[in-house]
């Protein structure tokens, strides 16, 4: 779960602020209908993703593969089958028009932007830090924050249990069954022990947490304290400049003629 990486200034931005800023940017992106503007903003975010997450280039390129695929597939469907006036090419069902091409690219870039924002966030934020910050800045109830953190611990344990159940099924001759009935059986045989195991574990952890005097009061102290710093100003400023400069450039020096 935890991928080691170098710490960059993005890691030091307040996690709650980062989360809010990125959500706002996603919403803003929904209202951008100008392709040039969209491309500028996306390039600005890709710059952050490629250069400032602190992960190796190899790792980043590997993570980008599914998103390139999303970009190509979303834009292609719109490009090939969208409606438009200025016809460029037609062959059977496929008709590429100028309008469909532009709209396709717009949708593709929007998908790419969302992906880049999400990845940048998750690559530079430890879940524990996010929840600590949410408790301190957004006043999230400790009850919810700590249950999420405890749940994250359960994921690797569940994966291990899944492997064990698979081996156990093999021993019982489970693989021999065929057909829909056996698929149904398999689903049941995997999910019931997995779920019952997790419920039991979650209950045990909850009891253990209360045994350590956990209560839902807000006057607790924090091992990690989060405030705001110059990095946060820089982070906000980066996006404001990106939105403004992107808009200016898209009018003065459009990358594509529209």
């Amino acid at each position: 779960m935890i991928v080691s990486s170098a710490e960059t200034w993005l890691h030091k931005v307040n996690p709650s602020l980062k989360l809010v800023a990125l959500i706002v940017l996603c919403i803003v992106a929904l209202f951008i209908h100008d392709l040039n503007y969209m491309m500028n903003v996306t390039l600005g975010v890709l710059l952050l993703f490629l250069c400032f997450t602190g992960h190796s280039i190899k790792h980043i390129l590997l993570l980008s593969i599914p998103f390139c695929f999303i970009f190509i597939s979303t834009s292609l469907t719109m490009i090939l089958f969208g409606k438009g006036e200025t016809l460029w090419f037609e062959w059977g069902l496929i008709s590429i028009t100028e309008e469909s091409f532009m709209r396709g690219l717009l949708v593709g870039f929007r998908a790419l932007l969302f992906a880049a924002l999400g990845l940048t966030f998750s690559l530079t934020t430890r879940p524990v830090n996010l929840f600590y910050s949410l408790m301190q800045q957004v006043k999230l109830k400790p009850k919810y924050a700590y249950s999420f953190m405890a749940a994250l611990r359960l994921i690797p344990i569940m994966m291990e249990e899944f492997q064990t159940i698979r081996n156990a099924m093999k021993v019982r001759g489970f693989e021999k069954g065929k057909g829909i009935r056996s698929v149904y059986f398999k689903m049941k045989a995997y999910s019931i022990p997995l779920l019952s195991g997790s419920i039991r574990r979650a209950h045990r952890i909850a009891v253990a947490m209360e045994a350590k005097r956990f209560s839902d009061t807000r006057d607790r102290t924090y091992y990690y304290e989060f405030g705001f710093s110059k990095k946060d100003h820089g982070f906000i400023l980066y996006f404001i400049i990106l939105l403004l400069a992107g808009f200016y450039l898209s009018i003065q020096f459009p990358l594509l003629p529209i």
């Binding site: 524990v128 081996n167 019982r172 574990r201 045990r204 009891v207 045994a211 607790r220 924090y222 091992y223």
Partner: protein, 488 residues
């Protein structure tokens, strides 16, 4: 003496149960006492521990009533499962979680965390160490460290070493002896060898959750031996008595002819890393092989490799056929897992045992006969309509063994089959394996229990650092021990 924990006329009942778990139970503990609660599994000792600490009813809602109930003002609780008592991913964060709950200022935290880790002898390279990388024993140390962070007057221990090997068990008890010296300690534990020197009082329970004896440990141990034996409690000397009464005999079957299993230059891989290596081993029918070694040495991995759960290399033949060409490995070998719950596939105990027979398309009559005979042998007739998950831990274990061997296989592999079982169930299982062995079936088991290797095994493999380093034959009849050292 000042009473620090006290309950008077406790009555409680789990929803859905027919009878009361406790009926008018009274018990009290003085400051500084070290007390062991002892009783058959399922008698409610752990539940009582939770009532005494206030976890019931404050955290776990169970209907209960008591005329008088005094909880300690400050207490800590160590649970048995090392994996499900932490809520944070790193060691320092886990102790910090306790300190946060107590509103300790942030500036003092680092120092307190280091202090508590030192107290339990947990020397980590950095306090920010991932809990997943710790061994079971280290996890329990961390759990004790976070309990110490609470600065408790009373420490409750609910089988803190149930999931640890003998080495880890001893270390944890040595640690607790030092830490608990000036505290009140109330313990529930089945493996009592190491606990006895530490405690001064024993409270003995019967099956119905009643206290049958309460007093100084020596008195209880000498006066109530028969009750303890009857209830399957592991009192000191239970093995000696069993051997005295039963005298298990291990004679060798002839080991000529084609070996049942043969491996040479064999290794098993997990995530492309070689985790277990065997130079050469041959297994014949009617052997009882115990695999020994420290936690993490690769004992379970060896079983997994033999069962082909993981990728393997080298020569591995089953009755002269290379393993890759053996069509249905599970027709010849079976495997019993450490956690029996993972193995259950059916909705009732009866169907669970019948499952493999149905896949094998046996006749209805044959299925009925076979299942009933197994239900009887494993003392599960009364529960045949229950869902497997409703059984007690000991019953689940017996069911998982019964279901695995319903179609007789030539080899049975078992991963810690007696783990967490009381003495009665342990002996029943062992006797049953012994009977199978005499019929020519080969039993290969991983166990930490030296008594099994000393009294039942005909052969012992020792695994160290992913290597099978020795293979010795043992026999009680002729008294000879032949050791074959494989490698160093």
């Amino acid at each position: 003496m000042e009473r620090i924990v006290h309950v008077e006329k406790l009555r409680m009942k789990f929803p859905g149960d027919e009878s009361l778990l406790f009926k008018d139970l009274s018990v009290s503990f003085d400051r500084g006492e070290k007390v062991l609660l002892l009783g058959p599994s399922g008698c409610g000792k752990s539940t009582l521990l939770q009532v005494l600490s206030g976890l019931i009813p404050n955290s776990i809602e169970v209907p209960m009533k008591a005329e008088e109930l005094k909880w300690p003002t400050s207490w800590g609780y160590v649970f048995q499962d090392p994996d499900s008592q932490f809520c944070m991913p790193f060691a320092d964060e886990e102790i910090a979680f306790v300190l946060e709950n107590l509103s300790v200022p942030k500036q003092e935290m680092k120092e307190r965390i280091q202090h508590h880790l030192r107290q339990v002898g947990l020397n980590l390279k950095t306090i920010h160490t991932s809990i997943d990388t710790l061994s079971g024993g280290m996890k329990q140390r961390l759990a004790i460290a976070s309990v110490l962070a609470l600065e408790p007057e009373v420490i409750f221990l609910d089988e803190p070493t149930a999931m640890l090997d003998p080495e880890g068990t001893k270390e944890i008890w040595d640690l607790l002896k030092g830490i608990g010296r000036d505290k009140t300690v109330i313990i529930v534990e089945h493996k009592i060898d190491h606990v006895l020197e530490f405690i001064d009082r024993i409270v003995l329970f019967n099956d119905d959750g009643q206290i049958i004896a309460d007093g100084p440990k020596d008195t209880i141990l000498s006066l109530y031996k028969n009750e303890m034996k009857e209830h399957g409690i592991w009192f000191p000397g239970v093995w000696d008595e069993y051997i005295h009464d039963n005298k298990p005999i291990r004679e060798h079957q002839s080991s000529d002819g084609v070996p049942l299993m043969q491996v040479q230059g064999f290794s098993g891989f997990r995530k492309k890393e070689e985790k277990i290596k065997v130079e050469e081993l041959q297994v014949h029918s009617g052997e009882w092989i115990v695999i020994r070694g420290e936690n993490g040495a690769g004992k379970s991995t060896l079983l997994h490799a033999l069962m082909q759960f993981i990728k393997t290399n080298g020569t591995y033949e089953l009755m002269g056929t290379p393993i890759k060409r053996v069509k249905n490995l599970t027709d010849h070998m079976t495997f019993v897992f450490q956690n029996p719950e993972f193995q259950f596939v059916a909705n009732s105990v009866y169907e669970e045992i019948a499952y493999s027979l149905r896949i094998d398309k046996r006749t209805q009559q044959e299925i009925g006969e076979r299942v009933h005979s197994l239900l009887e042998v494993f003392r599960l007739e009364a529960h045949q309509d229950k869902h497997p998950f409703q059984l007690s831990m000991g019953q689940k274990r017996r069911l998982s063994v019964a279901a695995s061997i319903v179609i007789e296989k030539k080899i049975i592999l078992l991963d810690e089959p007696t783990f967490g079982q009381d003495s009665k169930n342990t002996f029943a299982l062992l006797e049953w394996f012994e009977e199978y062995r005499r019929r020519g079936i080969t039993v290969i088991m991983v166990t930490h229990d030296d008594h099994i290797s000393n009294n039942f095994a005909t052969r012992i493999w020792t695994v160290k650092d992913g290597d099978v380093i020795s293979d010795e034959k043992v026999s009680t009849q002729s008294g000879f021990v032949e050791t074959k050292v494989l490698s160093f």
